[in-house]
């Protein structure tokens, strides 16, 4: 039984769960300072939580959910959410690989985070949980409170859009 009010227990949880929470927070926001702030807030909320959670996995899901909500609020505040679908429809058709395209692809690789930031929030959070959190569709579904089928669709759509952004070199650093 994990106790939120026990400092040692809290530290153990922190050390085990922080890497995945931080990685997810960082990939959702694309900003280290913001990711740290979100993690700090999430762990403090867990520490203040009256009812401790049954297992380390439950704690992890709970913290990811908090970080996800905090990140969403942050996203709304910044007004960064964009319609990637609309942007995608304006992209030019794929052209044969040229030297310029290869250069752009290299640049994109260095700026994958920025490309990731262009995904709609719902798709980004799902893909980030899958790719950086290493969570299964079932776990993602539990955290997001959606069906596994919905997770499958979101992951697919996220990859499709991201793949197109990367291929077309539409990304502007």
């Amino acid at each position: 039984m994990q106790k939120a009010d026990d400092l040692q227990s809290f530290k153990n949880i922190y050390e085990k769960v922080f890497p995945v929470i931080f990685r997810i927070a960082y990939r959702i926001t694309g900003d280290m300072d913001i990711a740290e702030d979100l993690c700090q807030e999430a762990f403090l909320r867990y520490y203040d939580k009256a009812t401790p959670l049954a297992s380390i996995d439950e704690v992890k899901y709970w913290l990811i959910r908090v970080v996800k909500n905090l990140a969403y609020n942050h996203e709304k505040r910044k007004g960064r959410e964009k319609s990637a679908y609309e942007k995608l429809s304006r992209l030019p058709q794929r052209s044969p690989e040229s030297g310029e395209n290869l250069f752009i692809k290299k640049e994109i690789r260095e700026n994958v985070q920025k490309a990731l930031n262009r995904l709609p929030y719902k798709l980004r959070i799902t893909l980030v949980m899958r790719e950086y959190g290493g969570l299964s569709y079932k776990e993602i579904a539990k955290i997001l409170k959606i069906s596994e089928g919905n997770v499958k669709v979101r992951v697919f759509r996220a990859r499709e859009i991201l793949g197109n952004i990367m291929k077309e070199g539409d990304y502007v650093p």
Partner: protein
């Protein structure tokens, strides 16, 4: 027949039922289009994984320190904001006692205030000054760099002399003399 892209993406994640897995694997081996799509998915994953990220250890330490600091702040804040339940009779008695003490203190202060003029012991000192007249005495006193209360004691065997003849003068004419 090619599996749809969603199923291929799920297969890529190891998220399709075992019963279907073998047939998908077999199909991919035979279908260049699907193996190309799978390669594309692998490329996307590789690029995502290769994207640089901040030093995890540093962030972990920084956030832990911030959490500790915030926790300490909250604990102090909770101490001062905690609720204390006092029974009504005890609270009434405490207020009454406080008022009595406050009034007593004020009365005591007022009494002490009546005698608040400090008594300075008077030191008398007899100084003999050899002067001929009042002007010389005033000059002597002005030359002393101090403020003292001075009692001028005239000689016990004093003799007053008349100076000049008595005259009647108007107040206007006497002025200045």
């Amino acid at each position: 027949m090619c599996p749809d892209d969603r199923r291929l993406s799920a297969y890529f994640d190891g998220e399709i039922p075992e019963a279907l897995q073998q047939s998908v694997v077999q199909h991919i081996e035979e279908c260049s289009l699907c193996s190309g799509k799978l390669k594309h998915l692998t490329e996307i994953r590789r690029e995502l994984k290769e994207a640089p990220e901040p030093n995890l250890e540093d962030s972990m330490d920084r956030v832990w320190r911030k959490i500790q600091s915030k926790k300490a702040e909250k604990e102090v804040s909770n101490f001062w904001n905690r609720k204390i339940y006092i029974p009504v009779p005890v609270a009434s008695a405490a207020i009454f006692l406080f008022l009595v003490l406050a009034i007593s203190f004020i009365i005591l202060l007022n009494k002490e205030g009546e005698n608040d003029v400090a008594e300075v012991p008077i030191q008398e000192e007899v100084i003999n000054v050899n002067v001929k007249n009042l002007e010389e005495l005033l000059e002597y006193l002005n030359s002393q760099d101090t403020v003292v209360e001075v009692t001028i004691r005239l000689p016990e065997e004093h003799i007053f002399h008349l100076a000049g003849e008595p005259r009647l003068l108007r107040a206007v004419d006497y002025k200045g003399k």
